[in-house]
Structure formats: structure tokens, C-alpha cells
Symmetry: C4
């Protein structure tokens, strides 16, 4: 039991926060820098959401993982270090939040390495990576392996950790999913047009609690993704708190940082490496 | 009563699973083969969803029908045979999941026959067909009849089986509907853009249970369509289990494979053949 | 009290059914005639939905109003007369379901008059009109007045009947609203792309019951619009039945045909005519 | 405590109504002036919604703030003065409801000043401004300061008031948010295409009540935005009433006009001015 990736827990919960700030909107078009309301909507994330999230985690005594684009760390000196000082993990979330699948060849590597340089200059130790917009290419996990990172968290091929082998080595994949992402529930912007109807935190809490229970049944990784500019709003914070308290009360859910579960997964003899590659053409 | 298509049950439930895997996305554009996250999202269907669904059906002792594109059967040897070995039906779901309504003339036939060849080579006996994307043309049921299949399940002209007569013979139609499809409730992809808000399984269970009750009242065919890459997720599996258990507890719902209800419908003297044809121009 | 449009009821409920059949899709593009699944989805309305609705109304002993495009009445001889024989009103819903706002000048009149000719040939007495897609132009109520109809039901300027005066005479407007329309809740088609998420009848029933209660408070016209191809589905029929039964149990809701409430409104001294006209330019 | 912006209340609630009438649709395209149904849908706001809202506020004895485009005030003489006479605040909501972010350079100033002229001519004292569509540019708060207004309410950088310093002076920002706006919940138009699914007031009431409770916890500004053409509908009015009554029953929520909370915020020593400016390029 103790050799397994989950350390004997029914479900392992990784609370992750993608601190995108202005990047997803600016990556959509540089002109949005002039849209003051929209920029303030995004700045709310690091300015109001992150402190509120850090306070909640303190209060609950739980560690979390913050995926930060290099540009955000650069523009807000002290943000990444401040997160680490509170006991959390900061991880690689691209430099610019431009999508790997929409970049010209070679650009993904440059963007990837530029973020590593930012974190290195700030003394932030990086163990893992998450592709911008969860839009990895097949080169993404190679880059992760080549740069000696332990894990990636961008793919959706399972709901438990799995191992990806590439020429550059083996990487632990901590899979994500759209249904455990606050973006599809809460995000709304008229321009660039983002989102559909804004859901109530009551619905989101119910949906995520149901998934947590089902993941306890199936013994999965509950890899939750929240964005401080979305989940940092008051009633959404209350829903997040209730979700976590629900998990704590179950007694069989382990809350850890991504790097902690990745370390266990890397040496779990039951997890076999998969080789990931593009499918055959449909012809 | 025993001569009727429903064998005396208040409602007949056909649990169907469309094992699309990567096909709907690749049919949208070959470039998506390079989108590693999206491809992993689709591969989850056969890799994780199907085994989980087969285990649930085993546990409940119920048979189901799996509609599989020929390309998927080809790319994953053993998938179709493995489903049949567990007591379920495998049925024809096109070769490529390209939509008949968007194909150039003659292409629909070629795609249709190529899938039959794949299943024939794998020793899978095919009794029925469902058009990719539920986008049949008027030629579709002719193709089904011409190739000696018993039924089609792509039209929406009723909520009970009906007979379609064509020059090539008579086919049983097992109608589908968007409201009994997990796609509209759960599917989300940013690119290709698919879906709107992701619904909670709590809502979906409630909606489908309400429809099952109403179909018991109206004595209909509860022809449910789930996709393993969507419904295979933990809490959605729990909702599917609860829906089935609810049906079993009613005592008047019969759970059968599509070919079983089609065989009964084919000889039900109360079902009259309809001739299907395009409407007159609006002029 | 007895002189008022509502005859003393807290709310007046007009159950209306827009029997569009294939027209909204064909108006979108003639090529859709080849889309067999989509055409069957639309044909379900007159073929399955209308008989089921008529049976429900019989059982509850209530009259309703069916807005039928001329093309639909023409293609399905006996449909309109059959509705009238069951005690309901058939009203004018354009000939082709093409939107007045998207028609070239002069076409709206031709389409309007062609429908009147169809109904006249079938011996159907027409008292009122509803614009296709609720997309009236400023000429629409003039056409209604000029042809001697009593009422229109396409505008949204109030939630009680109002009078519209034009050069051709005065027309009673029975206003509609998107929130009392089943289309926004239930409609889904991939191509032409229609709808977003498909809602549960449980939600729709709750929303409409809440509106009925509020309309009893504010003493309004509960002018409900359902489409047989949507609401004809089993669980939606059950929701409609529950809504009506809820209204009947209140004891202060009057269920009438559109022409009945229009006749009362036309002579209610409290209703003042409004002149409707385009707004000034925004400049 | 008494020096603080919230005057000791747990949450401060500003009920605001954006009386847009036809402007958002006409700003989308002048051709929509010919769409009679859509124009009536918008006119419902000032014609039916505003009187109903004023009656509710009277009954509850609460003050509110109405943001009115200059064009609307001009087209409906007496509307703005009538609102002020009932004890409410009328504030600046652009002249034309064209979005500042989509205007050519210089046009924002002209539109801004034209609205001030309209209100000046009508004797309406203006203390604050809200950008059309919540699409402010960085010049917007400069314009607000330059014209001596006390506050702006268009940005989303916090959920408490904050101070914005510009060369022209300091402005109080009363931030808004998409989740406290009735538009994303209720708006639906087919053309111009607006909205997705129409939500039930039951959901909206639950969501806003949850946010009010969370804002009481975090001590925020509950700055609610409703549109009379949307919220003026019967069941939505009932939901608004229930929300307000819920807040009143809490005993620690203060309901005030925007100018009242802005006056307190302007002299709260705990609020520090922020300089707002475009972010650095993503490079």
C-alpha cells in the first residue's frame, strides 16, 4: 500500500491554481491591453484572488500548487516567492500563455525555456509543467523530460497518474479534465468572447463533490484547477472551502502538492510507462 | 402482448455507447492529430471509459450495444471482439465518423462499406447501423437495407421503433434524440470548439430519470446514447449506474441490445412501414 | 371587472403551439431537405407531438391556439382542420417561416397573403397572426390590421395585451417573450447550429411556474409558446401537464384561446392604443 | 468604524439599474431599428420595467441608482427626472451605449460630454459614470476625473471600492462584475445574437444570495446590476424582491445609492489610491 502513488488514500486531491492574470487575453490579441475593464478583471487574480486563496489554505493547513506563466512572475516580482514562502509549490505554466498548438515550430521551446529562466532568476525551484490552455503538442512532454522536470499536468488520457516515456526520459503525467476546471463554469467575457452562462457556485460545488466521491470510489487523482481571477470571487471561495472541508471530513482523501504525488507515482511499480504519439491518419 | 415490439414492458431501454475515440475530432481537421491534449481526451474513451463501462454492465448483469467506427476497430485490434466476448453487441458507426450530410456523392457508400469490411475481417457480426453525428442522408437507410442489416438508429421521427421501407427492403428504425445523448450535457473542447457549459451529472441523472418515467407512461423506446470519453469519467459513471438501478427498480423496464428490440419490432404487426423522403421545397 | 381583458382572473393563460415542422430549418437553407435526421427531428412535431398535445388538452378539457405556417398546412392536409375539430384555434404563422426582418421589400406581404389563401382554401377561419421567429417589422401589424385580423402575437412591449393603432385600424397585441418559449430551453441541432445546452424539464417547469405565480401577482397574460417537435417529447409533455395542473389548482387562472382574450381586450376601456414606430436614430 | 467606506456594515449593497432601452441593439447596427419585435423587447425596459422597479423600491423604502444613456434620457423626456423625484440617483451611462473600446480616438470624449449636456439640460445632477458594456478604456477614468465626477463603476479590479488617481484627480471606483449582472443570466436575442440559455430566477436568486452572504463574510461591495428590460419581467422582479428582503433580514447589509458609498470611500483613510495603466506587452 505504501508503495502506491496514492499512499493508501482513496483519492488524492491536488488543489491547483493557474495564475494566468492578463496573459490569456493578451495572447488573444495585443490590442486588449487597451481594454481597461478587461485588464482589471484579469488583474483581480493576482491582486485579490491569490491573497484570499493563500489565507484560506493557511486556515485549512493545506498545501497547493500554483501554475504561473513566466510573464506573470516577471511582471509581479515577489508573487512567486511569496507563494513558495507560504509552503506551496510554484510550477511552470509557459512564459506567455500562448498555446503550444498554435505556435510556429520552435516557438514552443523558446517560450518554455524563457519561463524556466524567469523562475531560475527568482530562485524558484520548478518540478512540473502545465501547458497553456491545456493545449500540449507531442513535443511538450519531451521538453518536460529534457529539462529534467518530474511531471507534466496537461493531458487527459486517464484519471490517475501515468508515466510517459520519451527519448529524453520518463515523465509523470498528472492528468487534468475540463470538468474539474473552474473556467468552463465561471468564465465570462464579451470580448474576446469567453464562456457561456455563468454558473452558480452551488452547482459547481455539487458537481465537484459528486466527482470527488466518485473518484474515491474509483481511486483517482482529483486534480482540481482554479483560476484566482475566477475562483477568487467571494461566493466561489466559499464553495471551494466547502468542497475542501467535505474532502477532509471523508478521512480518506489526501491533499498534496503536485510534486509530492508525482514523486510517489514515479516509483510506483504498478504504473507502467506509456508512449504517447499522434494517432494514425483517418485516411 | 408478446407479439409487440416491447414484449410487454412499459419502456424498453437500449443502453448504447458510441466509441468514437479520436474520430470526431480528426474528421473535423487532420491537424488535430498534433493536439496531444485533445487526442488524449479522446483516447480516454476506449482506454479508460470502455473497460469501466464493461465492468459496470457485468456487475449489473445487463447487455448493451456499442457503436464503433471502423477506423477505431482497426486502430485498436481486440477492442470490438472484447466487447462481444463480454456479451454485448457491436454495431456499425461509419468508418471515419465523417458526416454523411457533408460527404461528396458516393463517399457515404464507400465509407459505409469500408466499415463493414473491417468488422467482417475481425469476425464481428453486424446487425445495425448508426450514422456519424446522427447526420443521415435519405440514402442512409437504403444502404442499411441493401447490406442486409436489420436496423438503423440515426433518425428522430418518433420515440418508438418504426419501419422504413425502401427499394432495397424494410429496416427497423430505433430512433435517437439529442435529449438522450450525453454529448450535449458533458462535451467540452476549446478547439475544435465543442459544447457550452459542462453540466453536473446530478442534473443529467434527473433529466434522464424524468424521461424514463415519461417513456414508461407513453410506452416508448428509451434509446440512451453515451460516449465512453464523456460518460467514462467517475461521477458520470455513478450517475449512469443510478439511472440504470432506478430503471431496474421500476420492474417494468426491459434492458436489451438494439438487435433484440429490432428483431421484435420487425415482426410486430402493429408497426406499419413508413416511406421516408425529403420534404417538398419551401418554394 | 367583467369588462376587463382578463375577465377577473389573476392571470390569463394562452397555451400556444407553433407547429413549425420543417420550415425553420428549410428557411435556413434549402440544402437541409437532404439532411434526413434533421428532417425527421422536425417532422416529429406534427407526426407525434401534435396528437400527443391534442390528447393532453382533451384530457384536461382546455382550449389552445396552434400557430401554423401555411406551407405546413398545405403539406399536411387535414392537420389544421383536425386541430379545429378538437375545439382549438388555428392561427396564422406566415407561409414559409422566413423571417420578415430578413425578407426583401414586398416579400413579407406576399408571404403573409399566401398563408391566408391556404387557410381560406381549407376553410380555416383565421383571427390572429404571429410573425415567424418573432421577428416582426413595423409593417407587420399594418398587414394584420389591413386583412381584418383581430390580433397579433409577435411583439414584447408589455406583459399584458395592448392595442396597436395603425392607418389600417387597431389590432390587439398579445405579447410574447423569450422566457416563455420552449425553444431557448430545449432546442438543439448541430447543423444549422441551434441552441446551447439542453435543459431539464424539471428546470423549465420550475421557471414557468414561478413566472405564472408572478404573473398572477402582477395580473398579466401568461402567453406560453411551445413547439410540438420540442415539447412533444415525453418528459416535456409531463412538465407541461404539471404546469397546467398547477395553474388549474390556483383557481384564479383562466385558460383561453388567443382569439378569446383578444376579443375581450379589444373592448376593454382601460387599454389605450399605442402607436408603434421605429425609434429615432442613435446618431 | 464610522470613518470606513462601509459605515460599519458587513456588506454595502448598491442596487443599480442600467436603463439601456434600445441603445445596445442600435449600437450593434442601425438596421435593427426596423426590427419591431426586438425594439419592443428593449422598450419594455423604460415602459414597463422601470415603473415596476420604482414601485418595488417605494414599497421597500430603499434608494437605488439608475445608469441612463444620454440618448435614452433625450428620447424619453421626464424619465430621468421622474427617477430622481422618487428619491433615486441618476448616473451617466454614456450617450449612445457605444463601447469605448470600439470607438475611434476622440469619439469617447465626445460621447461622454454629449451625455453630460443632456443631463445638464434636464437639470439632473450627475455624480458618477458607468462605461457602456463595462468596456472602459484607460482614458475613461481620466474623463470622469476631469469632469469632476465623484466615481466610476466600470472596472473589476476588486470587490471593494478603490481609489484611482489620474492627472485630473482621484476617482472612486465602485467595481462591477459579470456574476452580479442580470444580462448573463437572462438576456436572449436571436439577432443580434445575444445570450445562451435563459436561466430561471430561482437559480439567479440562489447565486446572488450566496454571493451576498460571501460578501458579508469578506466585507465587500455588493454592486448589483440589473436591466429593466430583463429584470422587469414578473418572476425576475419577485426574485429581486426576495434577494433584497433577504439582505434586509440579515441586519448587517446597508442599501445605499452609489454616490453615497462613493462619498464615504473618497475620505476613507484606509483606501489607498491605485494608478491604473495598461499592462506591459506580452512580447
Amino acid at each position: 500500500m505504501s508503495d502506491s502513488w496514492n499512499g493508501g488514500a482513496a483519492a488524492v486531491a491536488t488543489l491547483t491554481f493557474d495564475v494566468d492574470a492578463e496573459t490569456p487575453v493578451l495572447a488573444h490579441g495585443a490590442r486588449y491591453a487597451e481594454h481597461a475593464s478587461t485588464m482589471s478583471h484579469q488583474a483581480y487574480g493576482p491582486d485579490v484572488g491569490v491573497p484570499r486563496i493563500l489565507d484560506l489554505l493557511d486556515e485549512l493547513g493545506l498545501p497547493a500548487t500554483f501554475f504561473v506563466p513566466g510573464w506573470v512572475a516577471e511582471q509581479r516580482p515577489g508573487l512567486a516567492a511569496g507563494i513558495v514562502e507560504r509552503g506551496h509549490e510554484v510550477a511552470h505554466h509557459s512564459y506567455s500563455h500562448r498555446l503550444p498548438t498554435s505556435m510556429a515550430a520552435g516557438k514552443e521551446r523558446a517560450d518554455f525555456e524563457r519561463a524556466l529562466e524567469v523562475f531560475s532568476a527568482q530562485g524558484i525551484e520548478i518540478s512540473g509543467h502545465r501547458a497553456a490552455g491545456w493545449e500540449a503538442t507531442w513535443a511538450t512532454t519531451d521538453l518536460v523530460a529534457e529539462h529534467g522536470l518530474l511531471y507534466d499536468s496537461s493531458l487527459m488520457g486517464d484519471d490517475r497518474p501515468y508515466l510517459i516515456s520519451s527519448d529524453a526520459g520518463t515523465v509523470v503525467e498528472l492528468p487534468v479534465h475540463w470538468s474539474l476546471d473552474d473556467w468552463e463554469q465561471y468564465a465570462f467575457l464579451p470580448d474576446p468572447h469567453v464562456g457561456s452562462v455563468i454558473e452558480s457556485p452551488v452547482k459547481v460545488l455539487e458537481m465537484w463533490r459528486t466527482e470527488l466521491d466518485a473518484m474515491r470510489h474509483y481511486r483517482c487523482l482529483f486534480n482540481l484547477t482554479c483560476h484566482p481571477f475566477l475562483t477568487g470571487r467571494p461566493s466561489r471561495m466559499m464553495a471551494l472551502r466547502q468542497l475542501i472541508e467535505y474532502g477532509l471530513e471523508r478521512g480518506d482523501v489526501s491533499f498534496v502538492r503536485c510534486r509530492d504525488v508525482a514523486r510517489r507515482a514515479a516509483v510506483d511499480p504498478a504504473l507502467k510507462p506509456r508512449r504517447v504519439a499522434p494517432p494514425a491518419p483517418l485516411s
